[in-house]
Structures are given as structure tokens and as C-alpha cells.
Symmetry: C2
Subunit: 310 residues, 2 copies
Amino acid sequence: MSSDIAMTNAPVAADDAAVAGGMARSAAAVEAVLETLLPAPRGHHARVLEAMRYATFAGGKRLRPYLVLEGSKLFGVPDARALRAAAAIEVLHTYSLVHDDLPAMDDDDLRRGRPTTHRQFDEATAILAGDGLLTIAFEILAGPETHPSGDVRARLVSRLAKAAGGEGMIGGQMMDIEAPNHSFGEAEVILLQRMKTGALFEFAAEAGPLLAEAPEADQQRMRDYARALGLAFQIADDLIDATSSAEAAGKSVGKDAAQGKATFISIHGIEKAKAEAQNLAQQAVAALTPYGHAADELRALPTFLLDRAS
Amino acid sequence: MSSDIAMTNAPVAADDAAVAGGMARSAAAVEAVLETLLPAPRGHHARVLEAMRYATFAGGKRLRPYLVLEGSKLFGVPDARALRAAAAIEVLHTYSLVHDDLPAMDDDDLRRGRPTTHRQFDEATAILAGDGLLTIAFEILAGPETHPSGDVRARLVSRLAKAAGGEGMIGGQMMDIEAPNHSFGEAEVILLQRMKTGALFEFAAEAGPLLAEAPEADQQRMRDYARALGLAFQIADDLIDATSSAEAAGKSVGKDAAQGKATFISIHGIEKAKAEAQNLAQQAVAALTPYGHAADELRALPTFLLDRAS
């Protein structure tokens, strides 16, 4: 299924169906690993362990794990290692959703068509469950099963912490909360999105070369890919927020405009935002030039993400 | 200044004044390191970085860093390494205070005599600041300046994550929230406290031998010390809650009884709780037997902590 914003000139040898299939397989694999990594609910603290699982096993595309696994394939990383890095980034992403949904933050009742964690449990449990997911992300990365080299494991921890921290994802969320008090231009919107979602995308894409101890140039290429992909993904998300129904999106929509937040769409309008997304998709693909057919699914991913917003 | 619950038979060669002096020196040293490690507020996300600093630079005894630094001295760990581990555990402890104080949790307005972070800023910022402090704890531990060996750094990350996670501190906080719905006996109160505060004490005490790559037996002894110390500390805290004024304690008091939470005091009464604290202090001291005079301040620490509650 192609759309009016699908790319026409990029060297893509995989289609949306191939990406959807690969993504479904990687989601199933990472969920199986998460099943073994998250503690089983027991004892008088079972409630927080249940909430950690409720938030994690909520469906979703598992896009970040997919990036980790596809990036790892390019560099010959064994599946068992790649899956642990994929699991770590997914629980970290899940924590960010749990905390962002809280009443004091975005105050969302619905996430992927189900009650958000604080609606299903309560606020205190949701705060603690998010804290627990953030914490276990680092425990997973640092565990000896992730890589035989402690240096590699420590580097993964450092990079993920930087991507997710006050100068990364958390800073981006703060900037997002501050947005209605400012009139952000395009530069600020790009910075916000790069911090809020791009930093984690970049870590997901560089995890493969990091696990393979590949040269810094490869890590940089994968980050370049992810940076462009992340912005394209954000524009797609903004398009869904601006044009979809809550039922179709599986979450609350129309909130950006209601809150007066600057987005690519509020700055440029829908058509120019779509064109910019296509431009970013081409930039992402260009970063993968050295990797031949092994990178075909990663090349097809930007179009896949934009198609769902068309 | 000695108290009616000070120990009389333990081989303590340091007094409260020595501990107070050592603690003040270690607090100053760890605060200087934290000053350089926490990001300087800047940009449109400055608010969360400010809140991270507000919560961190709030005074306090810096008891966990003191344990890291004293434990590190026993095993000859260079100061620069020990100070990074001490800084990591202190920001992690600080995050737990920020989140525990939130309206959905303990709903405290006052912490160390100042407005809590969500009162000084707002709830969203406090949630994010806590998340940021938790995240940077792992970034600090994993950084190459913490130890030349990646294996050691990854092990520190693993141990801290386990101590702070859903089966450690977070699980203990969940159990504490659930407490009013149950009638916990002594075994449950001990488990709760061991998870909620003991796990982090144990990590603080074992960080020294971990950084020194000392034998597991040394790590175990330091954990044994910290486990007994942690329970004694908790009883001291309960005594303050039961008997002090808010002004003297620098935080809200009398909440345990108001919330119907089981504590050592509600189970055993004040006098028996004091006796148990003294017993625990002697257990802590006994674990340090192999370490001679180098451990004198650690031996004096339990009495110091109990004296402040007398």
C-alpha cells in the first residue's frame, strides 16, 4: 500500500509488506525476551511488577527494537545480544510513555486503545512502574549476557543514559511542556523532537555497530539514518494527531493544536510538512549507501512509517 | 554527645564528633563532584536541569556517599573513582526522595526544611527531574572515569540497578504504599525496609570492594554491615517520626501512625525498638572485625545514627 508521499527515486528493494513482516517477527522475538527479563509479580510489591508488565505488553510496533535488530544484522551481531539491547530500549521507551501519560504531564487516559497505566492501576503505581522500567533497562544492558566485553556494556549504558537523560529525551519532554509558553520556530521544533524522540532512535540505530565494535564511522552513519528517520516519524505522528480519529490512532488526538504547541504542521501546514517528511526519508536512505541489500528493510522503513500517516 | 541507646561494649575507637567530621568532609567532596557532573541549566529545557540541582543541593547528611567513601578507603580505592560512585548513589537516592514526595505518593511539602521539588517547581518538572537523576546515576557509573575496567563499571551498574529496581528500592516503596491495606508483622516490616532503604545501603557499602576488585567475601562482609546499619537507621528514622517535631526533623512527622503503617515501633513499642536498634548496631560492628582501625569510623557510625534519634 503506497501513498501520495511515498518516495519514488530512492533505491528501495523492500516494500511495506516486507517491513511489516520484519517488524512483526522482531516484535515477537523481543516480547519473548522481555517475558523472561521482567520480574514475575509476587510478594507484597507484586502490584508494581504487574504494572511494569501491563505497560510493556501493550502491543505497539516495537519500532525501536526493530531498529536495534536490523542495525545489528548489518554488522553480524548475534541475535541473543541484539535482543537484549532491543529489550532494554523498549522498556526505557515504555517508561517514557507511562510517565508522559500521567495527569501532571499529558494526562492521557488511552494508550494503544487501552487504559493508560495510571488509569488501570493508580498514579503512585504508574510512577513507580515507570521508575522500575527505566531502572531495569540499565540492568539489562549491563548484564554479562549482553556482550562479553564489559567495555561494550558500559558504553551501551553510557550512550543510552545520555540519550534518555536531561540533555536528551527528558530535556525534550521538558521543552515540550514549556512549548505553549514560547513561540517556537522550526529550529526549536527540530531541537525538541531530536531530543524527545530522536535521541532514542539514534541510540537504537547505533546499538548494532556498538555491539559489533564497528568503527565510529559506522556508528555515525547509523545515527545519521536515525536522526532523519526520527524527524520523519515525528512529522508522521503530528499528521496522525492533526488528521486521525482517536479510534484509528488508538490514543487521544488533536491535542497539539488544542494546547497551542508548535509542530512542523503548525509552522508549515500539512502539505509542506509531508514534503519535508519525504525529504527526510531520502536523507535517511542516503546514509545507508555503504550497506547494500542487507539494509533494504531499513531503507524501506521511512516510507512504511509515512504511509501509516497518509 | 552520647545517648541512652549508645553502645557500651563494642570496640569503637572513634566518637560521634569524628563521624560528624568525616561525614562533613565527604559531603563537601561529593557535592563538589556533583557540581561538575550535573548539567548546567541552559536552553528551553533549563527548568528540569534546575530542578535536578535544586533537589540534589539541598543539604542532607550524604550518608550513602559517606558509606561509599569510607568503604573505598578500607580497600585502597583512589578518591576520584570512589567519589564518582558516591555521586551516582546520591543522585539515585535524591531521585527516590523527589518521587516519594509527590502528591500521588507521600504528598510531602517539606524536605530538609525546604519546599519539596514539586512544591518549588511543579509536579511534571519533579517527575522529570527524578527521572533525570535516576538516569544520570547510571551514566556516571558507566563513565570511563569511574574505573579503567569496563567489567567493573558494568558490574556497578548491574548491582545499583538491582538494588534500586522493582525487586529492591522501588518494590519496597510499593510495599510501603500497600502497607495500610495489610497487617504486616515484623518479618514483613524487615523485608520492606531491607528493600526500601537497605538495598541501597548495601550497594553503597559494597561499592568500595567492588571498585577494588576485592574478593566476594569482602563484598559480603560490607553488605552484612550495611544490612544491619540500614535497619538500625530505619528504626532511628521511625523514632524521629514518632517523637520529634517537624521543625527539629526538617520534614513532616507523625505520618506513620496517622497512616496506620506498621513499623518496628508500632509492633514493639519505643523501648523495645531502641533495644533492637542497639542489637543491630552491634551486628554491624561485628561484620567489620577483619578491618582493624581503618574501619573505626564505620564502627562508630551506627551509634552516631542512633544518637540523633535519642
